[in-house]
Symmetry: C2
């Protein structure tokens, strides 16, 4: 197709992985540019001057930022293997849940680690996870998207893979199989999807103090 695709990334980011899952689902080739967040490249600062963060997708010289915006862009450009449903109503449902996960659920989860497991933060995070648990229960599907993963599952990858690592690293546990059986079943299915497996980074648990410090700085007051 003559498309030139570069993805600015860091290793181990769930937000970068969202974009990589989308690209791999579409079977699109892309070049990875590794960024060092302590010494960001002038390209990254130039292509995403607002947030100065990865992921940034460069498609034929044009830059797109924000992981879910990039995933929608990929789905708009390449129609095969759709990520969002075609029907406007189903599409709006997918966008609603992706936004809930991104703007409500993930900040609540990260706040747990930012507050070193404050009781109130854990209660709020569990409340958000329960909403997703109920949604899976009501729909009765293997994935949020149905029989196959879609936009919602991709948005929720943090819960499927990273949350367990964060719990192990910080020794703060609240996302238990007993409390959230459907979400755990979904997570098991999600990480077994071939495309997802290709993308997920190795399971590496940073030291507790380092994890807590990072989350405290970014989510301690959120």
């Amino acid at each position: 197709m003559g498309d030139e695709l570069k993805l600015y990334t860091v290793r181990g980011s769930p937000f970068v992985c969202r974009v990589e899952i989308a690209l791999k689902l579409k079977r699109i080739n892309y070049q990875i540019i590794q960024e060092d967040l302590k010494n960001k490249s002038s390209d990254l600062l130039n292509f995403n001057p607002v947030h100065k963060q990865v992921p940034v997708l460069l498609h034929n010289g044009k830059s797109i930022s924000e992981s879910l915006v990039i995933v929608e862009y990929i789905d708009d450009v390449w129609n095969a293997f759709p990520i969002l449903p075609h029907h406007p109503y189903q599409k709006s449902v997918a966008r609603f849940w992706a936004k809930f996960i991104d703007s409500t659920c993930i900040p609540a989860l990260f706040k747990v680690f930012g507050t070193n497991g404050a009781e109130q933060a854990i209660a709020e995070a569990c409340e958000k996870l329960q909403i997703l648990e109920n949604e899976l229960n009501v729909k009765g599907n293997k994935f949020f998207g149905g029989d196959n993963i879609n936009f919602i599952d991709i948005a929720a990858n943090v819960i499927a893979y990273w949350l367990g690592m964060l719990e192990e690293g910080t020794e703060i546990r609240f996302f238990t199989k007993e409390k959230f059986p459907k979400l755990h079943e979904w997570a098991d299915n999600f990480v077994k999807v071939e495309t997802v497996k290709e993308v997920l980074p190795p399971r590496i648990i940073p030291p507790k103090a380092q994890l807590l410090a990072v989350f405290k700085q970014r989510f301690g007051n959120s």
Copy 2:
């Protein structure tokens, strides 16, 4: 067309107004259902069980929540008078800025009032507004969308109309014409758009103490 459209609203909400602007731009008839947020109807709780908030659009019995998700839905269903650009790249740009306004800029603005004008909060809000000021400056257009309003302008309606009222009510002023000339010019143009004029509520300034209390409760710790 046989479409039945009900919009669950409260008076004076910028988030409801986003949806109303979209509906009026498309020249779609709809029925307004006024909600009392202190005594929410069972319909509202049923149609938006996750957030229990307005706006909710009910289209032929199917409910859609989250103002920007609703606006995209309206644009997906009714093609005339497009709100998002057609081209995927331009569309991603519109989504990027709408998300910036919604998730980054508006919380920063509301935090100013939630903290009763804390210096740090004002500095952060001005930093976000400056990013939008620069964007208008670089593009040199009348609106974020170009010659006509689009998704970004609709997302930013809080800045165009409500921010001034909040400043007047709280006596906390930071969005000045001197600092943000382009944004003020844009705001003046935005509120003059016929469709926008039809939708904007009367200029009513609640008492200072009431405003500060509401924002403190919701954004004091955000």
